[in-house]
């Protein structure tokens, strides 16, 4: 496996407030270093997806900033941002007829990297999807397609991976596969930000280093926890919310 030339930098959410009227007043602060794994938890409608899209600068914040090292993400050119940060959504692509291999090639193009065969093969091997290389995305099951999307993201934005409930439509094995894939990304220095309702599966993966609890309207707004994911504590905190 090749060593990667990119110098890795931390991700900082600074006094971030989301641009959705019902989330007004929810301040979010967080600081992550390379190799950190953040789980974002919160009830339905707590703003998890909005937060993730704001981190990616696909939505503007109401206030505050997102920093990647010395750069403010909102000021990066989209192509430059794509080379450093990647996003996986909860729904796998269902209408794309390109092959798994072509999808991985797109990741390299988005990252502005040369599209060479060995990087694509390496990326597919690392994610354990090489056997599907020539299959069409729309012929894969949701679980398989989602693993391809995670592999695509890992190949594209190597500094930060943002994932919005990537395991929502998957069975137990699919969930484990994706989480171990993310664990692997984390150990190679990528910052992983994952929104999930699957508290047990996430905790079982043993990968999590930080968690962020979004509870708009409760006065506190959000709580950033450092040092491991306490699933019991998270569950209690979610239960205590009066919404």
């Amino acid at each position: 496996m090749k060593t990667e030339p990119t110098s890795r930098e931390g991700l900082t959410l600074h006094h971030l407030e989301l641009a959705r009227p019902d989330l007004k007043g929810m301040r979010i602060n967080a600081a992550l270093s390379p190799g950190d794994f953040l789980v974002v938890v919160g009830r339905n409608g707590a703003g998890k997806s909005t937060l993730l899209q704001t981190i990616m600068s696909l939505l503007p914040p109401a206030q505050g900033e997102v920093w990647l090292g010395e750069d403010q993400v909102a000021e990066l050119r989209p192509r430059d941002r794509a080379a450093r940060m990647s996003l996986v959504t909860s729904t796998p692509p269902r209408h794309a007829g390109i092959t798994v291999r072509a999808t991985m090639e797109l990741a390299l193009r988005a990252a502005g990297l040369p599209v060479d065969r060995s990087s694509v093969e390496d990326g597919m091997k690392r994610a354990g999807i090489a056997v599907w290389a020539d299959r069409r995305l729309d012929h894969l099951s949701d679980g398989m397609a989602q693993r391809v999307m995670v592999a695509r993201a890992a190949l594209q934005g190597r500094e930060v991976m943002v994932l919005d409930e990537p395991t929502a439509f998957l069975d137990v094995v699919g969930k484990e596969d994706i989480l171990s894939q993310l664990h692997h990304c984390r150990t190679s220095g990528t910052i992983v930000v994952l929104a999930s309702h699957d508290l047990d599966a996430v905790a079982a993966s043993g990968a999590v280093t930080h968690w962020l609890h979004l509870h708009p309207g409760s006065g506190l707004g959000s709580t950033f926890h450092e040092g491991g994911f306490a699933v019991q504590e998270a569950r209690e905190a979610l239960r205590r919310e009066h919404r």
Partner: protein, 328 residues
């Protein structure tokens, strides 16, 4: 390899159809006459070759390429394999625009002749494209968009009927003949304008071919991969609107080419992306249009009748096959 072989076969087929179209016809010219006329442009043979057959063939080639590309762009943008300029009402919008100018005698357009027709078609198709772009977010299901397009077709059809009812006999007859579709009304100026627009649209599409594939992964994913959503949207809306409008203005509302061509390419080439299909789709559209025009000339069946007889079964077959394999 397979891709190159098929392209080569299509290319040869297209060249043959072009040659047959150029050197045969009801005029009964001898091969010698035609060959000399091709170079000196003199006499009756020169007029037939240079003012009738060549512009007609060029118009067929360009229209085929234009509609096929428009179809591919729309199927990509709407992530819907059944999208196409005629299915989503873009052609209907252009038809209404033409009808307003040629039948309704909209004050400005009436005296402008072909420029008025083209302007009417452009306004009509762009209006529908803008409408489609604006409402796309409302539709959760893919069939809803198609029904929306169908309804636009009915609405514009009703307005056209109203215009027809009030039109004078000469204008009405010309409009009805135009509506049957034909590459035979072509002029060199039309050919040149369409060629220029098709060239721009093709180059733009090739430049953005990877963006199209990223777009098919999902709009949000595409944006996270650096795709400029607004640029892509306006680009596709403008290009497809212009292509469909220009073809409609000169050749009438041509059915099915836009919808069916990308599918034939997918089946033949066994490629199912978006970006890699641009060149094959252009080629296939050109060959299909030449073939359709050849059929029109030697059977005297109007163009839209030919295309519908071939196109409708193709679409039905696609629908049946699709519901079998991917029920999602």
């Amino acid at each position: 390899m397979r891709k190159r072989t098929i392209s080569a076969v299509l290319g040869v087929l297209g060249a043959m159809l072009f040659a047959v179209g150029l050197f045969s016809g009801p005029a009964g010219l001898s091969p010698d006459e035609q060959w000399t006329a091709l170079f000196d442009r003199q006499g009756v043979a020169g007029t037939i070759l240079w003012d009738l057959r060549l512009p007609r063939l060029c118009m067929a080639v360009l229209s085929g390429g234009a509609l096929a590309l428009a179809g591919l762009l729309m199927q990509t943008y709407f992530k819907n394999p059944l999208a196409g300029p005629s299915v989503l009402g873009v052609t209907s919008g252009a038809t209404l625009g033409v009808a307003l100018v040629s039948l309704g005698g909209v004050a400005m357009g009436a005296g402008l002749g072909v420029v008025g027709t083209v302007a009417g078609a452009l306004v009509g198709s762009w209006a529908v494209m803008l409408l489609l772009g604006a409402v796309i977010g409302w539709f959760r299901s893919r069939s809803a968009l198609l029904i929306f397009g169908l309804m636009i077709g009915y609405l514009t059809g009703a307005l056209v009927t109203v215009l027809q009812a009030g039109a004078e006999a000469g204008a009405l007859q010309a409009f009805v003949v135009w509506g049957m579709g034909s590459f035979g009304h072509a002029s060199w100026s039309g050919v040149l304008v369409l060629a220029a627009v098709l060239l721009i649209a093709a180059l733009w599409s090739i430049r953005h071919r990877h963006d199209f594939d990223m777009w098919m992964l999902g709009s949000l994913t595409a944006r996270s991969m650096g795709v400029n959503e607004r640029g892509l949207t306006y680009g596709i809306l403008a290009m497809t609107g212009a292509l469909a409008a220009l073809v409609t203005a000169w050749c009438g509302p041509v059915a099915f080419l836009g919808l069916a061509t990308p599918h034939l390419v997918r089946i033949l080439y066994r490629q199912h992306g978006a970006g890699s299909l641009i060149a094959p789709v252009l080629l296939m559209g050109m060959v299909l249009a030449l073939f359709a025009d050849w059929t029109v000339r030697f059977t005297a069946i109007p163009l839209n009748a030919v295309l519908s007889m071939v196109g409708a079964p193709v679409v039905l077959w696609l629908l049946l096959r699709r519901s079998e394999s991917t029920a999602r």
